[in-house]
Symmetry: C2
């Protein structure tokens, strides 16, 4: 599972930086978290395939997190994409998008499902054989959600050499992954533990933007592999951050530490900052494995 | 008066090209015609000052002509701009924008005036001492308008040397510009024609996008200095152009010729074309003074 940063600036574009959007790639699947203006252009630039995108999650209805959505949906339609598209966002967005499509006389060539997020609630949004995604409330000036993406384990890992040694037929591999023993024709039981080893752990990525510094959603972040937490400001602007329901780099690092995360990505930088290195410097005083998540960067979760 | 091309691709972004938007600069004033996604980023890139922008004109409600508008208005608000802003567009856009601002809890720090364009009508939209702007109907799949911008003459041109010779007081210069004679204290009349010469002509720029090939709006284009006419396709795709209510480069050139325009700008290129030179080559077989209007280019009207 990897995260590609498509944009990571706060509302006012500055220094060529784009507003918030991230693609999460899980094997062949692509998820999109937030969709600031020009996300479709950034996706082309960084090689994120639109055809593979079936789920889009919008944290909240400030424009720098969704103004790229109408254009992206429109372009997906023009391209003749045909997989269903699922959009998870605050309820009012549904009627805004419907009106935009109606006045343009747009008919999408794919199924479009709008899933309204419940205010102040955590919900399971997607749960399939490959990944599970939940929402959770964060605290911003308007209703806002974080998201946690969990890549599922694909079962126990098969040791091919051992399977050959015990002449296990290939059709039985799926059952081995689920932990079953194999019984040979003469009744000899080949134990699963001789043939497989522990699977790679599930991987967890949590995304928290935009939010004031608070521990209210910490339970959802416990032990994630990678945490993205907004850091609009540096510590010197802590009062401004609080006033505007944003966080500082140090506050993001504090959350990462308390969550026992393995890696922290910083973003949603205010246009007042030209150089971004200080965000990492500041966060690392509290949580060493912190990174400035710049556009075009890919992070392995 | 000059036109800066901010984006000139049709709906599907391609080859790094952006959707439609143009800035028209008249002395210190800036007008914006259409506002495709990422126009605010393109304005920053090409040095178009937001603070000077008071009038925005949207031809129609296909997304590639206005999806950059919510972000631009939002950013203008964040910047604390305080001049009134006038938006001229099809009526349904008003409620879409209002909803977007309401859900974001956005309060603009400037007066915002929405002027709905009348379907199938030509109207005078702005008429001040510096310029006059009219709308006129063009023919597209949904209601669509062209715009004509006329930079006004600033009155007769004063010959300073002659004014000094006849001791004309400076307070009288404005009246000289309007063509008045000056009467000296002893009753001698200094003729206006001795003191001034013909003013520079007014300049006219007409913008026609998106539209099928038709002469229906030709009367509005007569003798313009510069005509922008969409040319989504090359001649080989004439049938496709007609079917989709678009034009070819040759058709745009035909309109420029019939309008007796001095210069033709071509744009709104389909994403099927990587190289754009052929658009000018094709148009020039009919109207020699034709140009491919690429992003970042400036044209003197």
């Amino acid at each position: 599972m990897k995260v590609t940063i498509l944009g990571n600036n706060s509302a006012l574009p500055a220094y060529g930086r784009y507003p918030t959007s991230q693609a999460v790639t899980i094997d062949g699947d692509v998820l999109l978290i937030d969709c600031g203006e020009a996300t479709q252009i950034q996706m082309q630039r960084y090689g994120i395939k639109w055809r593979k995108l079936e789920h889009i999650f919008i944290s909240h209805l400030h424009g720098d997190h969704y103004f790229g959505l109408p254009g992206l949906i429109n372009s997906m339609g023009l391209l003749g994409r045909n997989l269903p598209l699922h959009l998870y966002a605050a309820k009012p967005l549904e009627s805004i998008l419907q009106q935009m499509m109606a006045v343009a006389d747009t008919a999408l060539p794919f199924e479009f499902h709008f899933h309204p997020l419940q205010e102040n609630e955590s919900e399971v949004l997607v749960d399939n054989s490959k990944f599970k995604i939940i929402s959770f409330p964060v605290e911003h000036r308007i209703p806002c959600h974080g998201f946690k993406v969990e890549k599922k384990s694909r079962g126990r890992k098969i040791i091919l050499e051992k399977c050959r040694e015990y002449a296990i037929p290939a059709y039985f591999y799926e059952r081995l992954k689920r932990g079953e023993d194999y019984e040979q024709v003469h009744g000899f039981v080949v134990k699963n533990e001789w043939l497989t080893e522990d699977a790679p752990q599930t991987k967890k990525y949590a995304y928290c933007a935009d939010t004031v510094f608070t521990e209210s959603f910490l339970p959802y972040l416990q032990d994630v592999d990678t945490l993205y937490h907004e850091s609009t400001y540096l510590e010197a602007e802590t009062d401004r951050a609080t006033l505007r329901f944003h966080s500082t780099a140090k506050q993001a690092a504090t959350i990462a530490l308390k969550a026992n995360a393995k890696q922290l990505l910083l973003g949603h930088f205010s246009s007042r900052y030209k150089e971004l290195d200080l965000f990492a410097t500041e966060a690392r005083t509290i949580f060493p494995n912190s990174y400035v998540a710049e556009e075009g960067m890919e992070f392995e979760v």
